[in-house]
């Protein structure tokens, strides 16, 4: 193994922690705040050890009031800081919806361009850990509806490691959705991994017969499905959207133009979802490239159940992705 290609074994959680640590080291304006991020080390242990390293000024535990501490983050950002606000789960972020949607996203516009809000909000999203309907929803597609926000969904170690710094550099509010099922994902990452772009989708697996489009927690399942499809002779391309707002239309349309079929895998609900938006854009701009109707594999339209077998049944799973893709490709690729 050469020096340049040196890799380290790391988890998604640890990659995220490295990203926060690097930001705290590089920029004195950066601080982290949220519920239990300090003494407890973060609900998902992302910030474990940071309080000891950076002190209570920069790793701040907050009261249990999402609206209050997100609002404080907005104020700090307006005042010249670069806050990272952690919200425990996307479900709880709804308590701060007014701050996020009515303030963070609009102040630049409503102040006539006078105030940017360089705020980063991190939160956990997604199901699969038997945390029931209070903690398991995937509402990132909802936030992608809002002009003024950028919506990131890191699905790989590199993105977990690299998106935060780029988000902090952005002068406007950026929301980072970390799928809870990914924190324990472990793999090899370049030892010198650093900042990555946040405006391009990525082709995680090139293919020719069908484009499987996904993001966040379902990327792994989709890659697994692609491998299974390959064994059946179907060469699937996997597109990791990475950023849900703004969507990278060019990569999406380019992929469909090459494969002529698009299947969207989204842990969000189907109705009014980001998958619906992507489907509409493909229809609007690549209709005559389509060799089959755009299809979707989404979560069942129920609050995510607690019981294991029900939760599994409600979420997109590999067999459903494989089945949908095979139906679209038909008798042969």
């Amino acid at each position: 193994m050469s020096a340049q290609a040196k890799t380290v074994r790391i988890t998604y959680r640890e990659a995220m922690r490295q990203a926060i640590r690097e930001a705290l080291q590089r920029d004195p304006r950066v601080f982290l705040m949220g519920e239990d991020v300090g003494k407890y080390g973060g609900c998902y242990a992302v910030s474990k050890g940071l309080l000891e390293e950076f002190g209570p000024e920069r790793i701040r535990d907050t009261p249990l009031s999402e609206s209050a501490f997100v609002g404080a983050g907005i104020g700090a950002a307006m005042g010249g800081m670069r806050p990272i606000v952690e919200i425990m789960t996307v479900n709880f972020s709804l308590l701060a919806l007014d701050q996020i949607v009515n303030n963070a996203a609009t102040i630049l516009y409503m102040s006539g361009g006078q105030f940017n809000i360089p705020l980063v909000i991190r939160m956990t999203t997604g199901a699969g850990r038997q945390l029931a309907a209070q903690h398991s929803h995937s509402l990132e597609g909802w936030y992608a509806h809002i002009p003024g926000l950028k919506i990131l969904t890191p699905a790989t170690l590199e993105d977990a490691r690299g998106m935060l710094w780029t988000a902090l550099e952005d002068p406007d509010p950026v929301l980072i959705f970390e799928n809870g099922a990914l924190y324990n994902m472990e793999g090899e990452m370049a030892a010198d991994a650093g900042a990555v772009d946040i405006d391009k989708a990525a082709i995680r697996r090139p293919g020719t017969d069908i484009s499987l489009m996904t993001y966040g927690g379902t990327l792994g399942k989709t890659l697994e499905a692609a491998a299974e499809l390959a064994r059946a002779g179907v060469n699937a391309e996997v597109v990791d959207l990475r950023t849900l707002r703004p969507l990278d239309d060019a990569t999406i349309l380019d992929s469909v133009t090459r494969t002529h079929r698009a299947l969207i895998v989204d842990e969000g609900w189907r109705s009014g979802s980001i998958s619906a938006e992507i489907s509409a854009r493909i229809m609007e701009r690549a209709f005559y490239e389509l060799d089959a109707p755009v299809a979707r594999v989404c979560s069942a339209e129920v609050p995510i159940p607690y019981a294991k077998h029900l939760e599994d049944a409600a979420l997109p799973q590999v067999p459903a992705i494989v089945e949908a893709a095979r139906a679209m490709v038909g008798e042969h690729g």
Binding site: L290, D291, A292, P293, M328, G330
Partner: protein, 444 residues
């Protein structure tokens, strides 16, 4: 009943030139139809065998009505006893002639935007009053992916014969490509492989049967004139209501063109002499290549550009009225070929016998009133086209060039164009291109 013009609502079948059992080939003239404007020879777009004549001679039916049923080559005949009770409905298996066919890959009948295409015996999709085309009951609409349809158009594959292997039996691109590969290796003129040995079906001539005892018009000349007036009124009224015209005009020095033509005609036998009109037609067609937004159709709120350049030639009738039938692919033809087409067209306009493709296919129109002594024409666009070029009389004019004034033959060229599609700047470039092209007549 094909739509043989922008505002045609109904037509009368004057004569059938085929009968059940006859083999027909794409492009054959199968019937003569009387419209408000003219007697039109209806071409068939589908090779096959005439299964049934649905509308008898003398009957007037609205646009969209099925005139006859053509069984495509290779399709099984309908079981005769299982005749459907409804007369206009197609039997289940034969392909109704009313299904718009896929355009051929090459050949004179070039594809045009489907919305304006008057397929041989096809309904006009624009007419809401037209009854829906008869369909196979089990498949009210062809299941084909947009991509497969596009590829089929490009490859000239008749999708009605393709077996779908996609989702729910939909036709996919792979199905179309397979069908294209299976088709004859020389897909040019032969529409479909004549695989099945036929009882010596003498290929009907592609040309019109020479004067097949001109069918008696169902209406008197006076009535015909009144109807034509009405049809022109409708088309022109619609044009002026809907199309925001803009007009541009320029004078073109014709000295080189006329001298080249005169010298050339001296050497040509009388049967091959050219009229200057063909130079104008060719110049317009070549200029269209440079400014393609003059060429095509404005339908359903959007401009559909045409790859083919079919120039409609406005021809007035002595009895009043006018028609503007198309000469196909003018940009690709030599002046002599265009002349042959033009002569033939004028002859048949005079005799009142035109073909369906000529009526519906023009993508841009040229009108010349120079013969009548008019110097400038500001024409009205023939919808759904988007441009019309008018030429006046060639007159001698003082013309300054290089500091010298001399007498030169000059023609005025005008452009009437659709402002929804193009702007004055592009229109000006178009006229300038016509003028420039006419300065090099030897390259026409």
């Amino acid at each position: 009943m094909p739509a043989l013009g922008a505002d045609m609502e109904a037509g009368t079948v004057l004569q059938w030139l085929v009968k059940p059992g006859d083999a027909v080939k794409r492009g054959d003239i199968v019937a003569v139809v009387d419209t408000e404007k003219a007697t039109i020879e209806v071409e068939i777009f589908q090779s096959g065998v005439v299964e049934k004549i649905v509308v008898p001679e003398g009957e007037k039916v609205p646009v969209g009505e099925v005139l006859a049923i053509i069984r495509a080559d290779g399709e099984a005949a309908a079981p005769p006893p299982a005749e459907k009770p409804k007369p206009a409905a197609a039997p289940p298996s034969p392909r109704p002639a009313a299904r718009p066919p896929a355009p051929p890959p090459t050949g004179e009948q070039a594809p045009a935007p489907p919305a304006t295409k008057a397929a041989a015996v096809a309904p006009s999709v624009e007419k809401p009053k037209a009854p829906p085309p008869p369909a196979r009951p089990e498949h009210p609409r062809l299941r084909i992916s947009p991509l497969a349809m596009r590829v089929a158009l490009e490859l000239g594959v008749d999708v009605s014969k393709v077996k779908g292997t996609g989702l729910d039996g939909a036709i996919t691109r792979a199905d179309v490509e397979r069908a294209a590969k299976a088709a004859a290796p020389t897909p040019a003129k032969v529409a479909a492989p004549e695989a099945a040995p036929k009882p010596a079906p003498v290929t009907p001539p592609v040309e019109a049967p020479k004067a097949p005892a001109p069918p008696k018009p169902a209406v008197s000349p006076a009535e015909r004139q009144a109807m034509m007036r009405k049809a022109i009124a409708a088309a022109m009224g619609r044009s002026k209501r809907e199309i925001p015209h803009y007009y541009l005009s320029t004078e073109i020095d014709m000295s080189r063109a006329m001298e080249w033509l005169r010298a050339g005609n001296l050497k040509r036998p009388v049967t091959e002499r050219l009229l200057y009109a063909v130079m104008l037609l060719k110049a317009v067609a070549l200029a269209v290549r440079e400014v393609p937004e003059m060429n095509g159709f404005f339908v359903e709120g959007a401009f559909k550009r045409s790859e083919e350049i079919h120039v409609g030639v406005a021809i007035s009738l002595r009895t009043g009225g006018l028609v503007a039938p198309a000469i196909h692919d003018v940009d690709k033809k030599s002046l002599s070929e265009i002349m042959v087409n033009l002569r033939d067209l004028v002859k048949r306009v005079r005799a009142g016998v035109l073909r369906s493709s000529e009526i519906a296919d023009a993508t841009i129109t040229v009108t010349s009133l120079g013969e009548e002594g008019v110097e400038t024409v500001f024409g009205i666009i023939y919808p759904p086209q988007v441009a019309l070029v008018g030429f006046g009389k060639i007159v001698e004019r003082p013309w300054a060039a290089g500091g010298m004034v001399g007498a030169r033959p000059v023609i005025s060229a005008t452009l009437s164009a659709d402002h929804r599609v193009s702007d004055g700047h592009r229109g000006a470039l178009f006229l300038a291109a016509i003028a420039r092209i006419l300065q090099e007549p030897e390259k026409l």
